[in-house]
């Protein structure tokens, strides 16, 4: 498979209390190298505070990197852009736009004509199962529905890669499961390249072709586990449990609180 996204030797150091005598450097990411193939679903998992979200935001171009290179389709990434679609944990829908207007925003930025925007938006609203809510404002939607809109918004302008930052982290277990299933269905149909950050082992295995395990801060890649299971995955199968064990052990196992 063709290389889609390539990150080479990425490091990030935060400076806190800059300009004061207490200023100090906090390394968040250390020499992260990662390649995502075209059409591949990769999840990044790691303990909280390991810099996995920072990593994703750097790839999104929203946070500056300290050193390293990022290539998308062979071209170096500079700043944010429509070639990457971002889904945030906090949904980040514009409260002053309806569901449809939110989805149209990216299309408008892309320069899609009005009539077409409308059609595409409708198609993606159907895709995430929100027909009938086109003209609803976000504050009337539940968390799960909001995140469906956010997924539709990011998919609608057809970015080369979808970046998802713990997108289901704020949802209750059942809603979370529903959205995981939905995302799996969508992915099986569209085969979009996805880079997905999570701290949930089962979620990581259920969705991914490959699970990338990060270490504690400063984040480094400690292991990559290829998940070779037919989709949709059966989360109660023995093989699934075996993968769960493998990921948990890579994260430090029971000693580190993963069981």
């Amino acid at each position: 498979m063709a290389e889609k996204l390539k990150v080479v030797g990425l490091s990030k150091t935060y400076i806190v209390d800059q300009g004061t005598p207490y200023a100090k450097e906090i390394p968040a990411l250390e020499d992260v190298t990662l390649t995502v193939s075209s059409g591949e679903f990769v999840t990044i998992i790691g303990p909280s505070g390991c810099g996995k979200s920072t990593f994703l935001m750097i790839v999104a171009g929203l946070v500056p990197k300290t050193s390293g290179e990022i290539f998308l389709d062979g071209k170096p990434v500079k700043g944010p852009g429509l070639d990457r679609g971002v889904v945030f944990q906090e949904f980040a829908l514009f409260p002053w736009m309806t569901v449809e207007e939110n989805i149209c925003f990216g299309l408008e930025m892309k320069g899609v004509p009005r009539r077409e925007r409308h059609e595409i938006a409708r198609r993606y609203i159907d895709l995430v199962g929100l027909r009938g809510f086109e003209h609803t404002y976000p504050f009337r939607l539940s968390g799960g529905m909001k995140q469906r809109v956010a997924v539709a918004r990011a998919l609608a302008y057809e970015p080369a890669v979808l970046l998802m930052d713990e997108p289901f982290g704020q949802l209750d277990a059942q809603t979370r499961g529903q959205l995981q299933k939905m995302l799996n269905d969508i992915w099986e149909r569209t085969r979009t390249t996805v880079l997905f950050v999570t701290h949930n082992i089962r979620e990581a295995i259920y969705l991914a072709d490959r699970v990338v395990v990060f270490s504690e801060r400063p984040g480094r890649v400690v292991e990559e586990i290829v998940v070779d299971l037919p989709r949709p995955r059966d989360p109660w199968s023995e093989k699934f449990f075996a993968y769960q064990r493998a990921v948990a052990e890579a994260l430090g196992g029971e000693r580190a609180g993963f069981f």
């Binding site: 852009g81 679609g85 514009f94 409260p95 925003f105």
Partner: protein, 271 residues
Amino acid sequence: MATKPGTHALPVSSRGQVIGKEIWQSARPILVVFAVWELVGRSGIVHQALFPPFSAVVLRLYELGARGLLFVDLAWSLYRLAVGVALGILIGTAFGILMGASKKIEVWMLPVLDFFLSIPGVAIYPVVVLLFGLSNKAIIVTLAFEAALTVMMNTWTGVRSVPRILIDAARSMGASLRTLFYRVMLPGSLAFIVTGYRLAFTRAWRILVATELMGGLGYGLGFRIQQGRQFFDAALVLAGVLVIAVIGVVTERTLLRWVEARTVERWGTVT
């Protein structure tokens, strides 16, 4: 997810009923005040020439209205208010947004803003009169000054209140600075901006009356009160005060309310 939004079978009172109830609830205490005023005025505790009853004031108001003077005064006052506040809103919004958008501008403007905000608008008026003479222009400039400061403060707060994540979301979709401004910063800070406009109206209204009381400009509600005092016409003074109160309530309650109902309330940004 099968039910359409907005369909419900709950019994609800009509919009008109709700509004009617609200108006009655706020009018009731005012009517009591008028009744007490009438009783005190008639009782003779205070001489009627000094404190005429409510009915006498209403009669005086009717005379003023019939002569057309009331409307001339009203028109002048509202004209000064409208032009002054409009100018203030334009200047204040622009500078408020600049302050919110740029840290450099904020660092320079905030102390200046704080400094001027601590000066009561009425105290600025004599300074403005020195520059512009005892004129309409002086009043308008004073109002614009006060309104601009108020609007600036609120707009600045509003722009800073726009969640970082929404800006990031827009940036991730390749939004230009211009798009960020019009489609994210502006609607995102609208709740604060509209509050600022309302506040500006209220403050400007107070200053307007005060400046009209001070200056001999010939027309205006404040001027009419001042004239009433000079001619020992208590009913005229109270009639002026009454109109000022009514106009104040009406502008505060209705003006910009519809903007809020159509924007921030619809979005759920405020309730």
